[in-house]
């Protein structure tokens, strides 16, 4: 994910995987989040100190949220 090549690699196998499944051939994976709906406010541990944190902690700010992995 750290390089443009890696970003491409992230999407390629997904496309290949879906293409290999006849019933879902050509479909994009469904987008799990709908525009206009609130983002879930569940509490998760913070990477810094393990304390509970939530997207709701940032109410009042405009956010860009990345859901990702380092692989």
């Amino acid at each position: 994910m750290s390089t443009p090549a890696r970003s491409l690699a992230v999407t390629m196998p997904l496309v290949a995987l879906l293409a290999a499944t006849s019933s879902t051939s050509g479909q994009r994976p469904p987008q799990p989040f709908q525009v206009g709906t609130p983002f879930p406010t569940l509490s998760l541990p913070s990477l810094d100190d393990g304390r509970p944190a939530s997207i709701a902690d940032f109410r009042g700010r405009k956010l860009i949220l990345h859901i990702f992995a380092s692989w």
Binding site: S2, I55, R59, K62, L65, I67
Partner: protein, 402 residues
């Protein structure tokens, strides 16, 4: 994701935008190193169990002051930029609504346990399992595993519960509370999850992380090497990793399995080296995946751990540790002999893992297949300093796909 970080740097600095991350990763500390390397100092929430139930990553979202999703953002290339009207285009005319949300908090684990006990439904056990898995710490993995096992028993098609069970097994494997079979059970749980939904990309990634090179889209953690070098060159101490990536986690993809036997001769053909029957070194074999179709490749992880009870340690003064594989008729390997270089210290206590890939024959029976081998190593006792050359017979078990 570094692309969006760089493209919006000015907007972050003037306070217009706050960046936040949620990571879907078995080992969250690796994300810490990644963030340090990319100089991204924003808050990260950890979601190893995928409580958000996202089917893939990465996902980038613009969220307004009221916590409402305003836009699903496309991928941003590393040197990309945003236009002057980015804020208006992305967030529209959103304004703070003044509303507040309850502060983030740990769930009431005790109450969830009482409810699961009283109610007994898979849903109630899952809620308790999620709470104890995420908030109970490494010492409570037994309870998390037990809870998720109850869920999959009641709801065998609940892929998410299988996935979380696998995450919990692997977390226990990486902890002091490790039990024999934990890693294999993690892999098997992830396989069951994929049986329930083959399109779940995050579940597939967990198996690919440890699986054969033919299934790999790219090396997963090769960036760790570069990150450490660059951080050291910057004069920074790289964030420590609790579990060091290795073997399959670094391995490059492979297009074709090249079978061979190598030129090495069998090191102990007559079986004359004295056996270590789990007295000094604890050996374990894990197949990733454990179930194979005819012609499939699986990756075997043979791990060897000095046993604290007998106060054993590795001796590194002599030749490298060896693993010899003796696959059954029709099963192919790239080589039969594997050699493990020794660390520079004279004695050490590390867990050694030797990984080998095997290909199933085109004609595959119905029963489990044992792939035998043995390891040869030098081990010493702490107490009276006696060092020995020992052989330990090992075997991996692979099952034909149902």
């Amino acid at each position: 994701m570094p692309g969006w970080h760089h493209a919006t740097k000015a907007l972050q600095e003037d306070g217009s935008i706050q960046m936040v991350g949620i990571i879907q990763e078995q080992h969250p500390d690796r994300a810490r190193l990644f963030m340090q390397w990319k100089e991204m100092g924003w808050p990260i929430l950890v979601d190893s169990y995928d409580l958000l139930e996202v089917p893939y990553v990465p996902i980038s979202l613009a969220i307004d002051e009221a916590g409402v999703i305003r836009k699903v953002l496309p991928a941003m290339r590393e040197n990309g930029s945003v236009g002057d009207d980015f804020m208006v285009e992305t967030f529209g005319a959103s304004t703070p609504d003044g509303a507040t949300s309850p502060p983030a908090a740990r769930p009431d684990v005790g109450a969830l346990y009482a409810r699961a006990r009283a109610d007994g439904s898979p849903g109630a056990w899952k809620a308790y399992g999620d709470a104890i898995a995420v908030w109970g710490g490494a010492g409570r993995m037994d309870q998390a595993i037990e809870a998720y096992e109850r869920v999959v028993e009641g709801e065998p098609d609940d892929g998410m519960a299988h996935f979380r069970l696998g995450v919990a097994f692997r977390k226990r494997y990486d902890s002091e509370g490790r039990r024999e079979g934990d890693f294999q059970r993690a892999v098997d749980a992830w396989s069951s999850a994929l049986d329930a939904d083959p399109n779940q990309y995050i579940w597939r990634r967990r198996i690919q992380q440890y699986g054969p090179r033919l299934d790999k889209p790219y090396p997963f953690y090769d960036w760790v090497v570069t990150a450490r070098q660059e951080l050291q060159a910057r004069g920074e101490e790289p964030a420590e990793l609790i579990v060091e990536p290795r073997g399959s986690e670094f391995a490059s993809p492979q297009r074709e399995f090249v079978a061979g036997v190598g030129s090495a001769t069998e090191p102990d053909p007559m079986g004359r080296v004295l056996r270590d029957d789990d007295e000094f070194i604890d050996a374990e074999a894990v197949a990733v995946p454990a179930r194979v179709a005819p012609g499939d490749v699986t990756r075997l992880h043979f791990s060897f751990r000095p046993i604290a009870r007998t106060k054993a340690h590795w001796n590194n003064e002599a030749e490298p540790m060896l693993l010899w594989l003796d696959p059954p008729e029709g099963w192919e390997v790239e080589t039969r002999m594997y050699s493990q270089p020794l660390p520079p210290e004279l004695v050490s206590l590390e867990t050694r893992v030797i990984e080998a890939e095997v290909r199933a024959p085109e004609e595959l029976g119905r029963g489990p297949v044992t792939i035998p081998g043995y390891a040869l190593y030098y081990v010493c006792e702490d107490v009276n300093g006696v060092c020995m050359y020992r052989r330990q017979d090992v075997h991996a078990v692979v099952y034909p796909e149902r």
